[in-house]
């Protein structure tokens, strides 16, 4: 695992709010599906650190602001269309979380047959890692590895992800290493 320069973190980080931009959305995935996906993605991180994530009613005051943007969207890092760069997020305590609206975001590969479909939950889980202060990992299996192939799902935090984020925020008292998948236990 790795951190951003200066090892920034949210402080205090006990409870963070998130919200979806009302203006920067995609129409082909229902808002309920998107909310469920992000709820699961945030839950994975909150299971390992003592931080709660709750959906805010007011977008402008949320700690973490999520939106789907196309091309040049004003932050100096324009998106590049289908595939290439999928998303980016800012280090603590900025909270901006941007997804490339040009991607074919998939909720379920069974129903989405596109060759360029990208798993929204995998990318959401990765970008939340950045929002929390993790940079890219060299561990290929880790969620924080920088690349993700189309039609690939990688949502389970690996030991590398867990150790990195717990060094920033401490451990959730209810977290047990045995709760990670057997593959992770083997690696550990």
């Amino acid at each position: 695992f790795a951190y951003f320069y200066g090892k920034p973190r949210w402080a205090p980080a006990k409870s963070l709010t998130y919200a979806f931009s009302p203006n920067h959305v995609i129409s082909y995935v229902s808002s309920s599906d998107i909310e469920a996906i992000f709820h699961r993605a945030f839950s994975r991180w909150s299971a390992v650190i003592p931080v709660n994530f709750t959906k805010a009613k007011d977008y402008s005051s949320a700690d973490i602001k999520i939106g789907f943007y196309k091309g040049d969207h004003g932050d100096g890092e324009p998106f590049d269309g289908v595939l290439g760069v999928l998303a980016h997020a800012f280090s603590p305590e900025n909270g901006r979380f941007h997804l490339d609206a040009a991607e074919t975001w998939a909720v379920d590969f069974e129903s989405d047959k596109s060759k360029v479909a990208v798993d929204l939950e995998s990318v959401a889980t990765h970008e939340i890692g950045h929002v929390l202060g993790l940079a890219h990992s060299s561990v290929k299996e880790a969620v924080m590895y920088p690349s993700l192939s189309p039609r690939t799902k990688k949502v389970d935090l690996k030991m590398d992800d867990v150790e990195g984020v717990q060094a920033l925020y401490g451990s959730n008292p209810n977290f047990k290493y045995s709760s990670l998948q057997s593959e992770n236990s083997y690696n550990h």
Binding site: F4, Y5, F90, V116, L148
Partner: protein
């Protein structure tokens, strides 16, 4: 002036929506090594610069030469992404470069945009 064939126009439009066209073009550098001078290598250098492996060049633009500095950047990239460290644009490396990825730099640093565009009055 010869007007473009309408059929060609349609094909061009199709090409514009093909995935990851700019990065896919990097496959032409397969097996290139130090000393190679290849048209478009500067674009690959921009990719490495964007993701934190190459500093801004001393001259105005990146060149198309596979030079020592690029080799160092490539080695660093291979090491960072847990690829075989060969210093060459082998198939594993080209495959990694052309894979879809997160836009955050691998160097870790990402400053809030507002701070990058501060104007002094």
């Amino acid at each position: 002036r010869i007007l473009p064939d309408p059929a060609v126009t349609v094909l061009t439009a199709t090409a514009n929506v093909s995935p990851n066209a700019a990065w896919h073009d990097f496959t032409k550098f397969l097996d290139a090594g130090k000393g190679s001078q290849l048209v478009g290598m500067s674009e690959l250098k921009k990719y490495f610069h964007r993701f934190g492996y190459l500093p801004v060049p001393d001259t105005t633009n990146f060149t198309d030469l596979f030079d020592k500095q690029f080799e160092s950047a490539l080695t660093l990239y291979q090491s960072k992404l847990s690829l075989p460290v060969t210093g060459k644009l082998d198939s594993d490396t080209i495959s990694a470069i052309t894979s879809p990825r997160c836009g955050v730099s691998d160097a870790g640093l990402r400053m809030p945009a507002a701070k990058l565009h501060t104007t002094r009055r």
